[in-house]
Symmetry: C2
Subunit: 202 residues, 2 copies
C-alpha cells in the first residue's frame, strides 16, 4: 500500500515542482499579483482547474520550498541532544537555513522567492503565517523535550515567548543578510547571543 502510494507521490511532487519552477519565473518577470493562474497553467500546459489540483491556492506555489524547510528544521531540533540548553538547540536548529546558502543554485532560488514575497503584501502575510507555524512546531518540540527531561511541564508562556524570540532573531538575520551566508551566520549569532535569556529553561 505505502509503496504504491509512494510512487504516485513522487510523480505528483515532480509535477508540483515543474509548476513551481514555471510560476516562479513568471512571478520574477511580471510580479506575483500581475501573473494570473490562467497564465501559469497555460505556461505549464494544463488547465486552470488542474493547477488547483496540485496547489490549493496561488500563494501555495511560492511557499512550496518554505514548507519543506519547516519540516527540515523540525527534524533538526528533534535530533539535538536532550540535555542541550534550549537556546543553543534553537540556534543549531537554524543551521540548515545557512546551509541552504552553500548551494549557489538554492541561494539564487531562495533570493528570488524572497524578492517575490517582499513585493507583495498578500504574500508577506502568508509568509508570516508560515513563520508562525514554524514557531508553533518548535514550541511544541521544546515543551515536549523539557517535560521529558525534567519530568514536569515548564511555563508554556515563557517557552512560547522564547521560541518567538529565537524566530525573531532568525527573521532579523534573514532580512539583514539577503543571500550572503557569512553575514547571515554572523548576524544570527550576534542577535541570538544578545537575546539569550538569563534564566534558561532546559
Amino acid at each position: 500500500m505505502a509503496a504504491g502510494g509512494s510512487l504516485r507521490e513522487v510523480s505528483r511532487r515532480a509535477v508540483q515542482s515543474r509548476i513551481a519552477r514555471t510560476a516562479e519565473s513568471l512571478f520574477a518577470d511580471k510580479g506575483f499579483e500581475e501573473t494570473t493562474v490562467d497564465e501559469i497553467a497555460a505556461a505549464v500546459g494544463m488547465s486552470q482547474r488542474s493547477f488547483f489540483r496540485y496547489f490549493s491556492s496561488k500563494d501555495d506555489v511560492v511557499f512550496d520550498s518554505v514548507e519543506r524547510l519547516r519540516v527540515t528544521l523540525a527534524e533538526r531540533l528533534a535530533s539535538r541532544p536532550i540535555d542541550e540548553c534550549a537556546w543553543e538547540s534553537l540556534r543549531r536548529t537554524f543551521d540548515p537555513v545557512a546551509e541552504r546558502f552553500a548551494d549557489p543554485e538554492l541561494r539564487a532560488h531562495d533570493k528570488a522567492v524572497q524578492q517575490i514575497i517582499d513585493r507583495s503584501p498578500r504574500l508577506l502575510a502568508a509568509y508570516l503565517c508560515h513563520l508562525e507555524r514554524l514557531q508553533r512546531t518548535l514550541t511544541e518540540a521544546i515543551l515536549e523535550r523539557a517535560t521529558r527531561r525534567t519530568g514536569r511541564e515548564p511555563d508554556p508562556v515563557v517557552v512560547r515567548a522564547m521560541v518567538g524570540g529565537a524566530c525573531a532573531c532568525l527573521h532579523a538575520a534573514t532580512l539583514h543578510a539577503t543571500g550572503d551566508p557569512e553575514v547571515f551566520d554572523v548576524s544570527l549569532d550576534r542577535a541570538m547571543s544578545a537575546l539569550r535569556p538569563a534564566s534558561m529553561p532546559t
Copy 2:
C-alpha cells in the same frame, strides 16, 4: 484646511465604525468567510461599492481597532523617558493592551474580534502582518531613540531581534490570557523577565 478636512474625517470615521460594528456582529454570528460583503453592505444600508470606499478590503474591517491600537502603542513608546532601558520601555509600551481590558465593553469587543480572527486562517495571516507592522514601527522608534541618546547607531539586527522578542512575549501573553487582565499582566511580566536580554542596548 486641516480643520475642514478634520470635520470630514470625523464623519468618515463615524461611518467606518458603524460598518465595523455591523460587520463584526455578522461575523460573530455566521463566521467571517460565510459572510459576504454584499450582506454587510445591505445590513448597513449601502451599496457594496460604497463599502469598499470605506474599507479597502473585507479583512480591513476586522483590523480597524487593531490598527488604532498600533498607533496608540507607538505614541506610548515615544512618550517614555529617553534614558530608560529599551526592554523596560517596551514593557511599558504594552500597558495600553492591558488597560483595554479594564473597560468591560472593550474587553468583550476585543475577545469577539480575537475569536473571529482565530477561526479564519486568512485573517490570522493578516493579523500577523499587523503584528509585523507594529514590530517595524517599534523597531524604528527604538533605533531612532538609541541614536539620539548615544550619538551613534546601534546594531539594527540586534534591535530588530529584541523588539521581535518583546512582541513575541506580547503575543504569547495574549494567547495565554484570553480576556483576563490579571493573567495577562502576570504572563507578560513572566515572559518578559525571562527573555530580558543580558546586554541591554540603550
